[in-house]
């Protein structure tokens, strides 16, 4: 596997969801920014309504698919 793989599992080409803690939301651009395991990421929030900073999103392929429990990332 490539060195970029998360936890040796395919993070984008496979069936994984990764938990992101939202740091800020750009509503007009429909984008949330945050961190996944310390790395800065940006995801589309087209499929989740009313996203706010501090919550946890479960993301796949650059898109948030579901809200996660805060505990999902150990917060």
């Amino acid at each position: 596997m490539s060195g970029e793989c998360h936890d040796e599992v395919c993070i984008t080409c496979s069936d994984q969801l990764l938990a992101m803690v939202v740091s800020d939301v750009d509503v007009p651009a429909r984008i949330a920014r945050g961190t996944i395991d310390g790395a800065d990421v940006e995801v589309s929030i087209d499929l989740i309504d009313g996203v706010t900073a501090g919550e946890v999103l479960l993301c796949h392929g650059g898109v948030a698919l579901q809200r996660g429990l805060p505990l999902e990332v150990g917060a």
């Binding site: 596997m1 984008t12 069936d15 994984q16 392929g61 996660g68 150990g74």
Partner: protein, 404 residues
């Protein structure tokens, strides 16, 4: 303590394994985990070693990389070689062998092949390179398809005309049905795919209980999730129930994500049929772009060879994907076929059963493997009782079959 740690507690895992052992009786139970992510967890955490020997986990077809047939990959490689094309795909796909090489080989030969983490990255590349044609080679189940759909909707809304999608998205229900209809395999229950269910919900699996009388438990991806799912299936059988249950309630809603489903139906329609590696053609098992998005459809815009290519004779990915053979029962496992030199797709993606077994499982199960190979109780298809590796060179070559 991290949340995940609670789901990896070794003492709790052993206790659950003991309960499963106590409640499963003497009969042999075969439970299929549909999703490649589960396969990965099972091998990584040695879950099979915690289960009694009469509870067998069968690895299903749920790795999106593993099910791409060689001919489709050859089509993608041909598009990557077209002048002026920037070809984008997820990283795993770059190493999958086509009939004459991989996308990595195409890149080495001069094609502009780039790894992306999201189709939205491909859209950005298209915006930055208006004079180039950017192709995104889309793979994945219902978890991944919404990001492709959103990307196309954005491209259309923003008037971007140099992005094209080569669509290989597949759907999970038809292959499950094909497996249930397969006479080779008798299963007693399913661990349902947690992340696909985030999008589709749990109701689409009701046909498994209603038509086939097999329990389904949608489970998460931590070791205790999987063990609890196995326990829930055994309990259902024990109590004479047959239901779709949701163990992964902390993420999966029973109705899935309705917005994602709406986006999927706006952008995609079902193909009449699609070839799955190892499973053959399955009707209505994959997605193609709606006519409204035809201008973005790489298969319509580029000319693709469309040649079906059969797997090398030695490759037994089909049997592995159907759960009929364990990875190590393939005659080239760990010899001619390794993650460094994969012959079949199941060895490429870390979620493929063969790669997962190679990376995590082969030592812990070595004794059982030796026992089975020595006794010849399981046919590995070579019919001569040879251990892995006794394969002629020509059996390692792919076989062009016919024009599609």
């Amino acid at each position: 303590m991290k949340f995940a740690d609670e789901f990896r507690d070794a003492d709790l895992a052993r206790a659950l394994g003991a309960r499963i052992a106590a409640e499963s009786g003497d009969k042999h139970w075969k439970i299929m985990e549909v999703c490649g992510g589960h396969t990965h967890t099972i091998f990584k955490y040695g879950i099979e070693d915690l289960l009694p020997s009469n509870v067998e986990l069968v690895h299903g077809p749920g790795c999106p990389v593993c099910v791409i047939p060689m001919g489709r990959l050859d089509d993608g490689i041909a598009v990557a070689h077209e002048p002026g094309v920037i070809f984008t795909c997820f990283g795993d796909l770059m190493r999958v062998p086509g009939s004459t090489g991989s996308l990595l080989d195409a890149k080495a030969a001069g094609a502009d092949v780039r790894m992306v983490y999201s189709p939205l990255d491909a859209l950005k590349i298209a915006q930055q390179n208006p004079d180039r044609r950017v192709v995104f080679y889309a793979i994945g189940f219902e978890t991944t398809a919404p990001s492709t759909a959103l990307t196309l909707m954005r491209a259309k809304a923003e008037g971007i005309r140099n992005l094209f999608v080569f669509c290989n998205h597949v759907t999970i229900i038809p292959p499950m049905k094909a497996i249930l209809d397969s006479p080779d395999l008798k299963l007693d229950g399913f661990l349902g795919p947690g992340h696909v269910s985030t999008v589709v919900g749990i109701r689409p699996f009701e046909f498994v209980t209603n038509t086939y009388g097999k329990p389904v438990v949608v489970v998460g991806f931590e070791p205790l999730d999987i063990l609890q799912g196995v326990h829930m299936i055994i309990t259902q059988i024990h109590e004479g129930r047959c239901e779709v249950e949701n163990q992964y309630k902390r993420v999966v809603h029973d109705d899935g994500n309705p917005k994602a489903l709406e986006v999927l139906s706006r952008v995609f329609k079902l193909r009449s049929h699609f070839e799955w590696r190892g499973l053959g053609f399955i009707s209505q098992s994959a997605l193609e772009l709606q006519d409204e998005f035809a201008d973005y459809d790489a298969e319509k815009v580029f000319s693709v060879p469309g040649v079906r290519v059969a797997d090398p004779k030695a490759c037994q990915c089909g049997e592995v994907l159907k759960g009929v053979l364990k990875p190590w029962e393939c005659k080239v496992f760990g010899t001619a076929c390794t993650p460094e030199t994969p012959i079949g797709t199941c060895m490429v993606s870390s979620e493929g059963a063969c790669a997962a077994y190679y990376n995590f499982g082969r030592y812990s199960r070595a004794r059982e493997r030796e026992r089975v190979l020595a006794s010849g109780e399981h046919s590995n298809g070579n019919g001569n009782g040879h251990a892995n590796g006794a394969v002629a060179e020509h059996d390692l070559q792919p076989i062009p079959v016919q024009a599609r």
